[in-house]
Structures are given as C-alpha cells and as structure tokens.
Symmetry: C2
Subunit: 441 residues, 2 copies
Amino acid sequence: MADALKVGIAGLGTVGASLVRIIRERAEELAVTCGRAIEIGALSARDRSRDRGVDLSDITWFGSAEAMATEADIDVFVELIGGAEGAADQAVRAALERGLHVVTANKALLAKHGVELAALAEEKGVLLNFEAAVAGGIPVIKALRESLTGNKVSRVYGIMNGTCNYILTRMEKEGLSFQDCLREAQRLGYAEADPTFDIEGNDTAHKLAILTTLAFGTQIAADEIYLEGISNISIQDIEAAADLGYRIKLLGVAQKTESGIEQRVHPTMVPRDTVIAQVDGVTNAVAIESDILGELLMVGPGAGGDATASAVLGDIADIAKSRPGEQRVPVLGTPAKALAPYVKARMRSHEGGYFIRLTVADRTGVFASVASRMAENNISLESIVQRASPQPQAAAGSKTIILVTHATTEESVRNAVTAIKGESYLVGEPQVIRIERPKAF
Amino acid sequence: MADALKVGIAGLGTVGASLVRIIRERAEELAVTCGRAIEIGALSARDRSRDRGVDLSDITWFGSAEAMATEADIDVFVELIGGAEGAADQAVRAALERGLHVVTANKALLAKHGVELAALAEEKGVLLNFEAAVAGGIPVIKALRESLTGNKVSRVYGIMNGTCNYILTRMEKEGLSFQDCLREAQRLGYAEADPTFDIEGNDTAHKLAILTTLAFGTQIAADEIYLEGISNISIQDIEAAADLGYRIKLLGVAQKTESGIEQRVHPTMVPRDTVIAQVDGVTNAVAIESDILGELLMVGPGAGGDATASAVLGDIADIAKSRPGEQRVPVLGTPAKALAPYVKARMRSHEGGYFIRLTVADRTGVFASVASRMAENNISLESIVQRASPQPQAAAGSKTIILVTHATTEESVRNAVTAIKGESYLVGEPQVIRIERPKAF
C-alpha cells in the first residue's frame, strides 16, 4: 500500500469538526477504498480550546492557516475558513505555491479568485477540488467537470439556497407571510440573524458564477449576475402561481443565448408537474441541460455539517486515488488559460414567459387597457384573469389582474409595465415573476 | 501534451455510432479538457458495410471483437456488444489480460461476471469503467464509487427501466390498460417486440445487482433478487393509488437490514408528493441514502444512443485524464478481493407498508372478516376502504376492498392473504403492492 495521504484542515466549525470525526471513524474503510490511508496531519483554527466533540490533542496545531499551509507536513490543504479575502485566500495561495493539493468549500473565494487559483494549481500540477462549494452534498462539480466531458451545455439552473427554498415552501404549504416564515427559519437555524445574503440571492449568485464557468468554459463573472431576491414575494403570488399550475422557487440560471451568457438569480415560476417543482424545504437541486446527455437533475442536501463534510471527503478521496505528478483534470473543467472571455447577454434580451400581477382600481375599461398595453408591446398572453382583490391591505374598490405571457422579451415586459405604471388605475407596485420551463422533466 | 489516447470500439449499434460521431466532432474540445487527444484507433462490428451515418473507412477494422482486443494498437477497449456471454465476455477478458483499460455499457456482463472482471482489472492495474451500464446518462456509478467515499449506504433504489415507467405513466395519465400502453410503447420504439425482459423486471434486476455491490461492498448477487413485474398492474390499482396519494413505479430497491441485504424489484407505491414520484415517462431516477451525505437523487435519461454514448465518453475521458500505471479506483468501489459475501435478507422479513386490493362478494360480514384476518396477523391498518367494484369484468354483486397497512412484515401480509384466499367471498386474485417511502424528499 502507498504512503498515507496527510491532510491539514484549516477551520474547525461544524464542517471541519464533522470531517475530523469521519476521517477517524472511517479510517479502515477509507484505506481500503482509496488504496492508502488518509491521516489528519495538522489542524488550524482560531480557538484551540473550544470543545468540538472530538479529541484533537494528538494532532499538530497551527495558530494560523497560512503557517499550516507553509510549514505543516501535509499533502493536502483543506480550507474550511470561508470568505473571499484574508486568511482563506492567503492560505490557499500559500498551499498551492508550495505544491500542495487543495480542497475547499469556499464559494466566495472561488467566485472571486477562482480563475487565478485554478491557473496556479495547474501551473503547479496539483489538484484544486471544491465539490462542497456548490449545493453541498450534491456532486454537481464532478458531473460538470467529469461526467459531461464532450457535452455542450445549454443551460444550468437550480435551487441552491436552502433558506430561500425553506421560506417559499412554508409560505406555500401554510399560507404564511414571508416575514413569518423568515422568523421561523431563523428560529430553526436555517436562516442567519442577518439573512440578507441568502434572501437577496447573493449566496446563490456565488454558486451560479462557479457553475457558469464549469458549464460554458468562460471566465468567472460573479459581478455580472442579474439579482433579485425573494423578500417581495407575497402569499398572493404563491397562491396565484398555484392556481395557474406553477410553484415559485428562487433559481439561479445560467443560459447560453445568441448574444452571450445570461446569469440570473430571481424568484421563478416553474410548472408544478416538473420534478424540480417538487423540491421542497432546505433541499437543493441542480439541473444541467446539454446536447449529448440531455437533461440531468440532481437533488440533495445543500448544506449541513455532515453533508458538506461528505463532499469534502469525496474530494480528498479523489486526491488519494490519483497518481502524483502533473494533473490532467482542469480545475474549472477547462484549463484556466483556455477559458473564454465572459460575454454577458443583456438582461433586457432575456426571452421567456412572465407572470404579472397588478392591483388596479375596480373601474370599467381597466382590463381592456391592460390588455392593450400588452398588445402594443407585442406580448402574447397565455392567460389573463381578473379577480376580486384578496389582499386585506389593498385599497377598497381594487381588484387583481393576473397575466401569464407566452415567450416574450424582458424588454417588452418592462416597457409594458412602465406604460401601465403611467396609468391612474394602478394601485401599488406591479409584481413581475419570470417563468422557467425545464426541457425534459 | 501527452500522447493521444487510442480507443477501439466493439459494437456499432446506436450507441457505438453516436460515440464515433461525438469523438470526431468534439476532438478539439476533448483534447483541451483531457490534456490529450482521444482518437479512434480501431473498430469492430458484425457488419462492416452497413451505413451508420459516419465515414469509417479510414479506421482499422477488425472482424472480431476479440481480435481487436488482442491485436489492435489501442489503449482502451470499448465494449458495446452486449450480452453476458460470448463475444463481449471473451473480448473484455482478452483486453484486460493484455493490460488495456476497458469501458463497457454491458449490464448483463457485469451482473454475471463483474467481480471476476474487476479482480482481473485490478490485478493488471487498469481501469474498468461502466457508467453507461446503469441508468444510462445518470452518473450514479461515479456518485457511488467516488463521491460517496466514506459513507455507509443504507438504501439505494430507483426507476431504472424506461419501458416500465413509460407504460405506468401512460396508464395513469390516460386511464389506459397495461396492454394498450405496452402496444403504444412498442409502436414508439420504447419497448421491444418481446418486452418480457423489461416488463418482468429482469433488466432492472441486472442494474440493481451492480448498484448493490457498489453501495454495500458485497459480492454481486444478481440471482438473489426478488422479482415481480408490472404486467398485472391494473388501471384500478393506479386509480386507487392516486386516491390514496400515491403513484405506482417499478422500483429496484437494495436495502441493508439486520438480517442481510434485501434486493427486490417490484411495482411500488411511492407518496405522490415525493420527488421521485414526479419522474415520468422514459426518464430514470436513482436515489442513494447514506449516513453522512444523507439522501441524493439523480434524474436523467436512462437510455438512448446519445445519452448512453455521453456516459461512455465520460468514462473514456476519466481514463484519458488519469496517469498510467497501477490504478487506485477500485472497479466496484471496494477492491474485488475485499468484497464481503452477499448475505441475503429473506423476502418474508421485509418490513414496510402494503397496499392490498381485494375483489369480494357483496355480502354482509365480508368487511369484518377481512379486518379480522389482518388483526389476527398483527397488521395495523392505515386505511380500509370499501367501494362498489368499478371493474366491468368483475362478477355482478362484487365489491372492492382496499387496505393500506402501517409498517408490517411481508410474512404477515402473505399469511393474511393466504387466510383470505381460503374464504368463499373472495373473487379473483388479491393484489398486493409494497409501499416505499423516500427518507428525506
């Protein structure tokens, strides 16, 4: 049997502590499967004294992650610190410079510096694995980087934030408001005290930026993502969606179009009888549409100490099983030097169906006016429904008009909505939700 | 750049022809991604003259697969012949003996000789990849063999036969009989002229046997699988299932129990609001439940020339990216020599919920008698419904009793059903369908 693979783990939060425990408990099985033992050669975390439920006293401890990366007697540097800058960034660079393999769960770091780090890993002939950075335990990085080799991806999309999906699911199942569900998510530990990063879509955007690069072979462009969170989704939207045969999910979508690549994160209506519509609660799902394989959907836990640790361990095992020397698996699917420039498709050019909910004064002629504004912008309607306004807070004498369009452009919809905003009958802000249709299931 | 990887392809049906086309069309991209070119070095098929839509005249042709395996100037032998014995078996053995890597899509071969072939590949230090053998384009082999390293799997199950899922979906959506849907499937090319192998569950069983070994590290035991096909599923069962909140799917299930491993293929009721229940038509799905990762579900195309070729190409690409020399990825997840004996759990010990549909004479006391037979066998009922028999062919004066049990054992259910068969009020055969509940979603 080959020499043991020595890993150094930086960051001992929930994931790190889980990883240490698993590597120890499963030492024998891992040695059999990987053809060599996996040993923990070094640890680093801010607070050495904290009780993490595992005895760490016999492992070499480093006060800083960078010191561990530079000095420890290890083969693999595992980064579980988090954050795009500072300790995580410095330590990962130091480890790669030294010729260590790196495993990281850090989506922010990759979304910001992924291309540079990939280039460095490739120059040094080491592996940089990051399965845990996107959709936790779901092996979507491996699918894109390995299984889909030779395929041309046309679209990748998914539910990649458990907090948002939990809130939307609760709203639908129990008819509760966004605020009530957010509080419940916070109480259960599914949402942070400051939930902005999750509910406004930033977390999904980081993950999407990484998937886009793997799917399309372009430079990472995390700052070029159209972003819309779920905080203005009301129970009225969810109910109207259900009536029309849809569910609302926060999706991250990257799609190839004639004018470039669309990257967008927004509340999305998906047809209720599709598989992804059935993904509820904190569960994540990622779909990949490609020209040879067709459609592939993977569903699983997007977070949690154990699920994330499992993904990290899979990455470590891949390193244990591989031969030393120059590596041929490009970090980002395409060698960093061969990544194409990212050409952004204008959001205004986005094509698809739209759901539009308007609260309007209950007067004669309003329905006809709304329909005219749509027609003037060449928007063809799948359905238009008028109903008494169910909103208790709505002005008396108001009613709701719900439109579902056939495929049209974002530009047309924005123009139509702007025109309607100029009408005196409109009460409050129009709600616009994009519709996304899975290709095969 | 390293030398080109030369592949020899044996078998040029739909998958083989698709593979040849893709390797040629995507030559440049493949070379970039894999760090070396992939070239077709040799071909072999029964009929050289057949038009396969691709020009094959410049490739060295072998009259027999075994001759190609033995003599061709290639690094990888790709077996797309099919069948557990004969040409495929001989050629794969010859290729491994010679020290060639092997990629195969042949589930029958692996279900029968997988352990021997894995041992041979490991002895020779070559890779034996077979992603396409189970659930076509879904990367379930890679997930079990690589991503889940370190996990203990508790259950793996899935919809792995597109023909059956197509028929069951059509029956449900259109209220058609099994025979009508089968004919439609045959007309569309989703079912063979002789569909027995698919509809009686044998095809699913081959795939399940392979998954069981990967999931539990035991010897392949394809002959130890409990088998029940879908040919006796009636529209009444499907409608009753729908009324009760279930859908009927043909599942292959491998599950660890205290007394051993259950392997079973049978029509199964799954709760309608689970993700797998939404998988319709020819689409496949495989779920893996494990202790660290949790639940993972993958959905995608289970067959088709391109989807299968994509999986084969992924396997070839993995070989292209790996270093030469002794390989550390065990073919079956666990090294062949370390596989544990397969200990079969008795089907009679299976625990779960059951759906039982009885056609009975419309007399006083029958309902009470049925309920008593259940109670005598310690079967606790979730629901018991009596309704007028909707079956036109049923004897006049008959009615239907539908029972759904709480978790009980197969033995108890069989005993209860045997007791009821002894009663004079029973009309025709009782229908018994097992219920399977996904753990997380």
